[in-house]
């Protein structure tokens, strides 16, 4: 699998189409993000499947935004799975990345990862390696929807009570690009107070994920308290889909209904 990716990245770098390729590198015994700039130096490039598929994924789109902000004229390649590509498409509609300046190199996720993620589309539009597998439904959401409202509320309050307010869910999120964050707005959330106000802290973030979350699940993996945030945001995505027939990142150039609603002249 990795051979096809390295071949594609080498072509892109050698032809000068991209300044650098943002991918993952296995170095010093650990896997982390790395900008590859030399087509002859791709030995350590990996796909983030160390002990099991997708166990060392990173928010590469977030690092890509950092590069694009400082070097807007340069074109960068980036490693994408299905979720990352949804991120690229959505970030483009929010004017955070210019699609002409990004060359995605896609990989399709295996069945095991698709099931673990409950991913609706575990592959990008184009991919250089991997097999296309069927999307998986949101079983975790269906399971919670099956219990009555009072018990469901108790369930979520118990989960939120574990929060240590590290802001890791926001910090890891490739879709959190705002310069000012509501979660640090004193009118809403007092930053110096621990524990966070419940359920205000988590529901504020959940509302902000509406029409924006691309279901990559990195927040869930970054949570030191193991709060099932992904399930919460999946539910929010379902509501937006039911109300507005929109899921972020599945169709290029399709703006979030919440983005459009805030424009003047739209009722």
């Amino acid at each position: 699998m990795i051979k096809e990716v390295k071949k594609r990245v080498k072509e892109l770098l050698d032809s000068g189409k991209i300044t650098g390729f943002l991918g993952l590198r296995d170095m010093n015994g650990h896997v982390g993000p790395h900008l590859f700039c030399d087509g002859g130096d791709l030995e350590a490039l990996v796909l983030g499947d160390r002990e099991r598929p997708g166990d060392s994924r990173y928010p590469l789109n977030k690092q890509l935004i950092h590069l694009a902000r400082s070097y807007p004229e340069d074109t960068f390649g980036v490693l994408v799975r299905g979720c990352d590509e949804r991120g690229l498409k959505t970030l483009s509609t929010w004017n955070q990345l210019h699609p002409d300046k990004v060359v995605p190199v896609g990989i399709a996720c295996p069945q095991e990862l698709a099931e673990a993620c409950e991913c609706l589309r575990p592959y990008p539009d184009e991919f250089v390696c991997g097999e296309k597998v069927e999307g998986c439904p949101y079983d975790s959401v269906a399971q919670l929807d099956g219990i009555d409202l009072a018990a469901r509320f108790d369930h979520w309050m118990r989960e939120f009570e574990k929060c240590i307010k590290c802001y890791g869910c926001r910090d890891i999120c490739p879709m959190c690009f705002c310069k000012e964050c509501s979660l640090e707005s004193n009118e809403l959330i007092r930053t110096g107070d621990i524990p966070p106000e419940m359920p205000l802290f988590h529901l504020t973030r959940a509302v902000h994920m509406a029409g924006r979350c691309i279901d990559c699940g990195l927040c869930n993996e970054a949570c030191p308290a193991d709060i099932p945030l992904r399930t919460l945001y999946k539910k929010v995505a379902d509501i937006i889909d039911e109300e507005f027939h929109y899921r972020p990142g599945y169709v290029a150039d399709q703006k979030s209904p919440l983005n459009i609603l805030s424009q003047p002249g739209v009722e």
Binding site: G20, V31, G32, Y58, C166, E221, A222, P224
Partner: protein, 135 residues
């Protein structure tokens, strides 16, 4: 363009969480928790998440300060160490080793903490050693 991700260990406490510092053209711009670290497995606390901010904080002390006539002045390490050593010696000789206490730090390494307690016991002759992790 010089873009790097540098693997390092959080200095905030003794846990030893691994993180990547994202460095663009010599400026540290972000912190990324290391997913493959057996210590923190891709997670961090709020302090670890903000390592990139304190490293370059203008409030950070980068040189020793000595209070002279009521105000802090930057001095050389030699002067700071000379002053501290002479005061410690004076206090030990005047009032005994147990009139001195040592507070060590979770931000220092095991080895540095070992050295400090050794210094307290062997050089100053006191068991007055405490640590912020014992709160």
């Amino acid at each position: 363009m010089d873009y790097r991700t540098a693997l390092t260990t959080c200095t905030y406490c003794g846990c030893g969480c691994n993180l990547y510092l994202e460095v663009l053209d010599g400026q540290i711009i972000d912190t990324i928790p290391c997913k493959t670290s057996p210590v923190n497995e891709g997670k961090l606390c709020i302090k670890g998440w903000n390592v990139h901010e304190f490293v370059q904080s203008p409030n950070r002390l980068t040189r020793p300060l000595l209070r002279k006539e009521g105000t802090f002045e930057e001095v050389s390490w030699d002067e700071a160490l000379e002053f501290t050593a002479s005061k410690l010696r004076d206090i030990k000789e005047g009032y005994g080793g147990d009139s001195i206490g040592f507070l060590t730090s979770a931000k220092a390494t095991n080895e540095e903490n070992y050295l400090l307690q050794k210094f307290a016991r062997a050089a100053l002759g006191t068991n007055n050693v405490d640590h912020c992790a014992r709160l």
